[in-house]
Amino acid sequence: MRCGNLRNAALRLAVCGMVLSSAACGGFGDGRQVRQSSGPAALRILIGSSGDAETTAVRRAADAWASSSGNTAEVTPAQAIAQQLGQAFAGDSPPDVFYVDASRFADYASVGALEPYGDRISDPADFYANLRTAFTHDGRFYCAPKDFSTLALIVNDDLWKRAGLSGADVPTTWEQLTSVSERIKAGGIVPLVIGDTHERIGAFMVQAGGWIISPDGRRAVADSPENIRALRYVQTLLRNDLARFPQNLDAGWSGEAFGKGEAAMTIEGNWIEGALRADFPTVEYSVHELPAGPKGKGTLAFTNCWGIAAKSPYKKAAISFVEAMTTVDQQLAFARAFGAMPSRRSAKDAFTREFPRDTSFVNGAEYARGPVNAPKMESVLADFDAGLQQLARAAPETILKRLQKNTQDALDD
């Protein structure tokens, strides 16, 4: 009998523990209306930094803002920002300001994690239009683009000369890309190394006039004839050994294979400049806009925005912080520190004057397409990537049909 009572007591204790810990875990407050704190703000800023250079530059800028505005700002570089943010949102204590990758933006915006402050920043129309689109959800411009990068054709000048090619031979169309690649291959050099993901091969889809979702973001248009045409073209390059994936050249990514001189061309963003400078400083290369496809020029844009948490108690201070981070002068300072391209159009001229080699990257901004702006697409696109890895063997129609179905499922969900 007594034992039974004790058992009951133990059970009760366990239940109590559960209730207590659930209370501690989330609190019982409704998170929709967040009380704003007055007085000096203590901003917590989480950045998905590309390296020490970026961390230092952002810290310096944050300190300058803090001392001039009378607030404090603590910058933390994240190890894995997607996971850290996910856990912070689940724990109800997100950082006030953080980087939001455009490919994850819709996930955050659709669950109400972000403050839609985009129009409260000065001169929002100055940001490139396709960057603003990348951070627009349900017709609202959410957050200010931090910087951006686009894909361009990177050419190894030595290998280019060794294949008997000149500057005039840099391909501007798919046909020229094929013919130039054949000439390079004849010289026993791998012509092109390209990453096996939609974030590289997708550029060909844009050049062919296709994309994964419709412009309004409501319909899947993945199995269009344009996309099939694009994948067929890439498949031909792969099958004829005119293009290889970095894994086939024993490299983690295209930049590594290119730096080692394994391929004459690659398609990457301007981050490759820093990587080549650090790891392969002797490689001579030049940057060109991507060859145009049947529907003209096309490239992909990658960008982050300065997200502000909907649950931040210091939204006003946070907006003032973002304002300071996105001025033309500050963006140029970031460009000098770690090579980020300014997201404001009014900074373009000053930027290209200072970094003439990046002109081809910046020019891409006019016709670039941002990442798929819809929630729950990450696993769909990962599945598409798995298909693309098999592109040399599999039928483009099958890969795209599967993408079409999965995309539509995700959009309907």
Partner: protein
């Protein structure tokens, strides 16, 4: 601990002492019960609740606004034709082949190693014991990174194969199924154009052809790594059991005229049965939960052939914000492990009694 009858007797005659004993007992275990409850049982129950909701990771999952969806997270893993099911079934397939290869091989290898280093004839036994055990005490992340180098396309493994005149595969970039390759090699099917009968359909959204892929070359590499690292641990367990076998037993069987093989088959192995059960169970549990090697080496790539349920659950929850589906996957995995462990226990116990009743062959001979 006193058995139940004496306890009952005591309770009848000296109730206060029994009560005191019980209170004292509960008091002694209270810290462990609290800690286990708070950090094990409660989180598991919380996760169970999350698996029944559509929680998106914003705020607490225990608020009123969190949508309750019942068993939908579970049913969409099995009945709905969507990407979630496809990924889950792919991960089950990958992990199944992984378990089917790793568990038997590592057990046999561990037993073999234990028998070798237990033998009296081997010189430098201590050295070999240490050498075989060494991989088990090294960090699995460090080992994984070393393997990444060894099996790089121009790494040591392929150089070695090149010496033998073999053109090595691109290990971690190769999504082709080993079974597919084998079937292709013996000319049964053409892996580039599999027969329509197999690609047409199959259970749970994967075609029969996909189910029959076997582990991919990339997964086979992870399998090699895991067998190498864990067989050392299990060798130690077998070794401990082997050293517990009384010498008299071995000598008795030798006097009875048993050969080496007969001794192994009829003396050593029956004595090792409990250890064998332990090793198989631990192996089964660990292999169904493989995570760190996948996280470090392949992240599920190439072409999802190294995706495992444990990794998929993590990815679904923390990257896609589908915490409900993610936790549902981990509970299904939990069920798989429990059921398999029970089946295994039944099988091993069913066998346990019979052979002992029968006299070994060599004693029946004369």
């Amino acid at each position: 601990m006193p058995d139940t009858t004496t306890r009952a007797v005591r309770r009848r005659f000296r109730p206060t002492a029994a009560t005191r004993e019980a209170v004292a007992g509960w008091l002694f275990v209270a810290p462990v019960v609290t800690i286990l409850g708070l950090f094990l049982l409660v989180p598991i129950l919380m996760a169970l609740w999350v698996s029944l909701t559509d929680w998106n990771g914003q705020g607490s999952p225990f608020l009123a606004g969190v949508p309750y969806v019942g068993l939908r997270n579970y049913t969409r893993l099995f009945t709905e034709d969507n990407l979630a099911r496809q990924d889950f079934m792919t991960s089950i397939r990958n992990n199944f082949y992984y378990v089917v290869i790793v568990v038997p091989v590592q057990t046999v290898l561990a037993l073999g190693l234990a028998l070798i280093v237990n033998g009296t004839r081997l010189r430098g036994r201590t050295f070999f014991r240490t050498a075989f055990f060494f991989p088990s005490v090294t960090s699995s992340v460090a080992m994984s990174v070393v393997f990444l180098f060894i099996f790089a396309n121009s790494g040591a493994a392929n150089h070695l194969l090149a010496l033998l005149g073999v053109d090595g595969p691109q290990w971690f970039a190769d999504p082709r199924g080993v079974l597919h390759l084998l079937l292709g090699r013996i000319g049964l099917v053409d892996p580039e154009a599999p027969p329509a009968a197999l690609t047409g359909g199959g259970p749970f959204g994967l075609s029969w052809w996909e189910w029959l892929s076997g582990p991919s070359v990339a997964m086979a590499t992870i399998i090699m790594l895991v067998i190498w690292t864990t067989s050392g641990t299990f060798m130690l367990m077998f070794l401990a059991a082997l050293q517990d076998i009384p010498v008299a037993l071995e000598e008795a069987s030798m006097i009875d005229g048993a050969g080496r093989w007969q001794r192994l088959r009829h003396v050593t192995l029956p004595v090792l049965r409990p250890t064998l059960f332990l090793v198989l169970t631990l192996g089964l549990i660990a292999t169904w939960q493989v995570f760190d090697q996948v996280y470090v080496m392949s992240q599920g790539n190439p072409a999802k052939t190294t995706l495992t349920p444990a990794y998929l659950s993590y990815q679904t929850a923390f990257r896609d914000f589908e915490y409900g589906t993610g936790t549902a996957i981990s509970f299904v995995l939990f069920l798989i492990i429990v059921i398999l462990a029970l089946v295994q226990r039944r099988v091993m116990h069913g066998r346990a009694d019979r052979p002992r009743l029968r006299r070994p062959a060599w004693t029946r001979r004369s």
